[in-house]
Amino acid sequence: MKRNGLVVTALVIVSFLTLFSPPADAQQAEWQKVAVPPLPAFHPTEPKRIVLSNGMVVFLQEDHELPLINAFARIRGGSYSDPAGKTGLVDIYGEVWRTGGTKEQTGDQLDDFLEARAAKVETGGGGDSTSIGLSCLKQDFNDVFKIFLDVLQNPEFRPDKLDLAQKEAFDAISRRNDDINEIVGRESAKLGYGKDSAYARVPEYATVAAITRQDLIEWHRAHVHANNIILGVSGDFDSAQMESVLRQAFEKWPKGPAVARQQYAMSPAKPGYYLINKDDVNQSAVRFIDSGTTRKSPDYYSIEVFNEAFGGGFSSRLFSSIRSKLGLAYSVGGGIGTGWDHPGLTRVGAGTKSQSTVESIQALYQQIDDLKSQPISNEEIGRAKDSILNSFIFRFDTPEKVLREKLGYEFYGYPLDFLERYQSGIEKISVADVAKVPPRYLHKEQIRVLVVGNSAEFDKPLSTLGPVTTLDITIPAPPQEPAPAKP
């Protein structure tokens, strides 16, 4: 079963029946009497993987359902390696790469050409990579692919579009304290990774203003080389034909310096209580923050099952207690963070009215304590595993999803059959495995508790729980310059 790709078998159904079959003498509920036949075996189309002589990796996934073609290339290196004093460089690069046009055509000309065909070529910047994508009707592929190539290889980064991108970045900075959920997401990362960590820092007026056209040109020169690129193409084409088009386009592209995979320093804030006061809200955003791990950890599958049972969907402990039983929150959940190539952030949290802020923190503590006194039970684990395994097929039920999964594994250096390993990894998890997760990853005394809310309305001062550090999130004004005006 492992060798033949992703197959959903009767095994999954068996685990469902063992879980919900009542004792022999109990009366079966109506829903338990409904027959569930075995799911037919399903072998999704696997993409074809090609490695060009210059090291560029290409995946081709035919999908003839609709007359469309999509392509997506991921290029190593992203905002985690923004130079000091220029945080925001890769974000700006990701936009101006496309809007700034090519040597031949301005970005506006590209817009006109593409939109007339309802086609897209777009670029973007991320933490560990940048990307360029294409989407078009099959009939327009040749024309649109030419633009894709031109943007990939000959971008011009025209200054008017850099100026525009900087203005938009200033606007985003000016608005970043408007919404408590945006604040709590950003500041949680700073507490978990350290405020200056590559994984948490954010652009400021000064760092965005410092970015020059030359910076964008140099970033492109340093990173966009065939051997740093993974390209996936899906849609209504013939693989052999597409392969020859791509070989012709890329095979002669010389190799460049490889972008090394990097780990960046982390210096989490010390455990304790952190408060960000916001006087125009009546709900508090509460987060418990701790360090997580990566998907390469031997505990990964135990953590997946634990997360599902503790803070996943409707069936989870957090949902049932904090939301359904106590009525304290609409949004509640969380789990141990697992990153692809660096430790994820463990976040557990809820949004609750100002007047139940401390009560909710205590209720969340109680949930962590309960993990000791009432460990996750056999039944809860069975339910969590059923939920993961029975919905497993939705990770590869379309050719596009299969392609996306493979691109991710390739990028992070995971085995390409990671999804199959995942299934068998989850199947093996026992109560004892899950019991090891909380002592390893959830420590009450190591948690940073962050509250963004209207402290004047809290049920009790946060300080009744322990010493509180008040965080100042005032946005630093742009240096000297009169514009952009301080918001």
């Binding site: 159904i13 999704p44 003839h64 359902e65 006061n277 009525g327 949004g351 919905s391 952009p484």
Partner: protein, 504 residues
């Protein structure tokens, strides 16, 4: 199946017009049946992976909320996850008795609490305690979230629901071997719903209101703006509900709403995926056929009169400025509906759109600007809205002036041939891109069935855009975007009081 969709769209593209025959080729995979109880069922065979998605549409939304009970349609949506007389209970016979006790206690408490003249505070407290005690007694019978647990443990994916001013919808996807189990669960949910944990769930909904509206600058602006825009029609009321109504309505109210609007003749069930209609339809009939036939609910709708005035709401808020304006337009069945779609696309889609080019690229006064229909719904006459997000240092008035200049161009100059062609090409491409996944298809087809009684309208909408002319755009812009038909909503940044330590 796959092949025929492809052929259909190749035709579609080259001919530019959908002929009846193209729809006919799509038709081979769609089966529609009205059951004896009035329920509309649509099945689309889309065999690929062994999975299916469904969409249950109830043709009632917050517009149908009774007077002084805003938020009730949305509350009912939450209650549809609370289980049945079989699911979510340890002993329904006993639970039922206590739930009735909860309702009696609540009615007594409410009567005293709402007695404005002779309220006895002591008695209010005593009655509140009796009500709370009854709730605690009922809790012993509850298996929390068992309905959701069964769906999840059986591989349900993306289980969710929504309530809008126009309708309420329920959806998720499942492995194909759970089709009959799904039919059982989904029909039971609307055959034997139980209002358990109602008052706790009401608190959850109140938290949802705090999150979406009270603590969100955009939420606060939209609520005030929509309230101001509609004087007579029920669209002026928030779907999430006013806080006083949320603190008042009862499980009995929700049950009454359920019996009035959750009737088969008012619902459409759509299934798309790896199912065969010949096998699936009898299963659906077996389970959903049990819903009792009822008469279609009567409508109680006031028609919005012509506005005849400029209206404005200004929020002096701690957050950054936003500019929004809306104009009344007819409902989705109006003959100019496609013209409004064309205008929205022309003004807003991508970096070639008129608003992007004018406000963002050329004038450099906004980070984003767009115009769209459907605020807050489409079933009744509603708003076509424009908005702009001013860049730091720029005022809302500059945004308003720039938007008005673009509106003036729409009225006085013909759009170019290239622009009109772009709009039409995009409408077709968007339709195709929307046909890829089961859940999206189910929601689109189900919505068309409810709105028009015919899924083919999905394709005809594109045909109608194809027929839009330059003169249509000038005519519709001229009649709609006029000052006396306008409501403006603005957030202006208030200066924070440093003594309060408020963040900027």
């Amino acid at each position: 199946m796959k092949q025929s969709i492809k052929i259909l769209f190749c035709l579609f593209f080259s001919c530019l017009v959908v002929s009846a025959q193209d729809i006919a080729s799509f038709e081979k995979h769609i089966t529609v049946k009205k059951l004896d109880n009035g329920l509309t069922v649509l099945i689309m065979e889309h065999p690929d992976a062994p999975v299916f998605s469904f969409f249950t549409l109830v043709d009632a939304g917050s517009t149908q909320d009774p007077l002084s009970k805003t938020g009730l349609a949305h509350m009912m949506e939450h209650m549809a996850f609370k289980g049945t007389d079989e699911i979510g209970t340890k002993n329904y016979a006993a639970e039922k008795v206590v739930l009735e006790k909860v309702e009696k206690a609540y009615a007594a408490y409410e009567a005293e609490r709402n007695n404005r003249v002779r309220r006895d505070e002591q008695k209010v407290k005593q009655l509140e305690k009796q009500w709370q005690d009854a709730i605690a007694e009922a809790q012993q019978y509850v298996i929390p979230n068992q309905f959701g647990q069964i769906v999840e443990a059986n591989g349900g994916e993306g289980m969710n629901a929504f309530t809008s001013v126009d309708e309420t919808g329920y959806h998720y996807s499942m492995p194909a071997n759970r089709f009959e189990l799904w039919a059982y669960l989904e029909s039971e949910r609307f055959l034997h719903p139980v209002m358990r944990e109602f008052y706790k769930e009401r608190n959850v909904v109140i938290e949802e209101r705090r999150m979406r509206v009270d603590s969100s600058p955009v939420g606060r602006l939209l609520e005030q703006f929509i309230t101001e825009s509609f004087a007579a029609h029920q669209y002026h009321r928030p779907t999430i509900g006013w806080i006083s109504d949320l603190n008042n309505f009862s499980a009995t109210d929700a049950e009454r709403f359920f019996h009035r609007y959750y009737v088969p003749s008012n619902m459409v069930v759509t299934v798309v995926g790896d199912v065969k209609a010949a096998e699936a339809m009898p299963v659906i009939e077996k389970y959903f056929g049990r819903l009792p036939a009822m008469t279609q609910p009567e409508e109680f709708i006031s028609t919005e009169p012509p506005q005849n005035s400029v209206r404005e709401v200004v929020l002096h808020d701690a957050s950054q400025p936003i500019y929004l304006e809306g104009y009344h337009r007819p409902d989705y069945r109006d003959q100019d509906d496609a013209v409004y779609d064309a205008i929205a696309d022309l003004m807003s889609s991508g970096r070639t759109s008129r608003l992007y080019r004018a406000l963002v690229r050329d004038k450099k006064i906004a980070s984003y600007s767009a115009g769209f229909s459907g605020l807050p719904g489409v079933k009744y006459p509603h708003l076509f809205a424009f908005y702009g997000i001013p860049l730091p240092g720029h005022k809302s008035q500059e945004i308003a002036d720039a938007i008005h200049a673009e509106i003036e161009r729409l009225k006085t100059e013909d759009v170019t041939d290239e622009e009109l062609k772009m709009v039409k090409t995009r409408a077709k491409a968007d339709l195709i891109r929307g046909l890829a996944d089961n859940q999206g298809l189910a929601m689109q087809l189900g919505t068309e069935m409810a709105r028009y009684g015919d899924w083919r309208e999905l394709f005809r909408e594109v045909e109608r855009i194809e027929k839009v002319t330059k003169a249509d755009i000038r005519r519709v812009a001229s009649k709609t975007f006029v000052e006396t038909n306008r409501t403006v909503g603005i957030i202006e940044t208030r200066v924070a009081n440093p003594a309060q330590g408020g963040v900027q």
